[in-house]
């Protein structure tokens, strides 16, 4: 396959096959809200 003379070097980012799949973001842990407490009148 004749592709001619080299011109330049490229760094090509992958589209379908990243070198390492990004890890899934952690599930948010909502701060538990305190149970409402009855206040005696």
């Amino acid at each position: 396959m004749n592709i001619g003379e080299p011109i330049r070097e490229l760094q090509v980012e992958p589209l379908m096959y990243p070198a390492a799949m990004p890890s899934a973001p952690a599930e948010p842990h909502p701060t538990p809200t305190p149970e409402p407490t009855e206040v005696p009148a």
């Binding site: 592709i3 001619g4 080299p6 330049r8 760094q11 980012e13």
Partner: protein, 176 residues
């Protein structure tokens, strides 16, 4: 060569030799017996392929061949692909039966995705990683059943579509 340039995904064209091997369709490079894996990308390697006598001598004396990361600008290694189809005759775009020795297969042109370190040339590329994207089968009336079965098996194994027109090879969104 000028300095490295970072670019997005790159698609180009290349030929494969498609053949049966132990009942499975295999995509193989034309000029070297490199088998393309069906489930992972092909990664380039440079073996500085020596002549038979040099290879035999190295094997005899257990001398390891020196290698380097591929592709290298000072070498000719890497996964080859063409920028354009211009200059290729129409009949050369269609699957061609190829029968070296007892082997029997077909030369097929298709689209390949390239990434990693890529050396850009005047008419093509040498890449570090590659994965086949599409294969051109040509019109169904010009093929025999053997080729159809082989290409269909390659399509299933490599999870890539077969297209019958050059236009679909270039612009898959225009497929009927």
């Amino acid at each position: 060569m000028t300095a490295a340039l970072t670019v997005g995904p790159l698609q180009a064209f290349r030929y494969w030799y498609v053949r049966w091997e132990e009942g499975q369709a295999v995509l193989q490079s034309l000029y070297y017996p490199t088998r393309w894996p069906p489930d992972v990308p092909l990664q380039a390697s440079c073996e500085k392929r020596p002549g038979y006598l040099v290879a035999w001598t190295r094997k005899l004396f257990a001398v390891q061949a020196t290698t380097h990361p591929s592709p290298a600008s000072e070498c000719w290694c890497g996964i080859y692909a063409l920028k354009q189809l211009e200059g290729i005759e129409h009949r050369e775009l269609l699957p061609q039966l190829y029968q070296p020795g007892q082997d029997r297969g077909v030369h097929v042109i298709g689209v390949v995705l390239l990434w990693g370190r890529v050396i850009q040339h005047e008419h093509g590329y040498r890449a570090e990683y590659a994965r086949p994207l599409r294969l051109l089968t040509g019109p169904p009336d010009g093929r025999c059943g053997d080729i159809d079965r082989l290409l269909a098996a390659a399509s299933r194994r490599y999870a890539i579509p077969l297209v019958s027109r050059v236009e679909e090879l270039l612009y898959p969104e225009r497929a009927a």
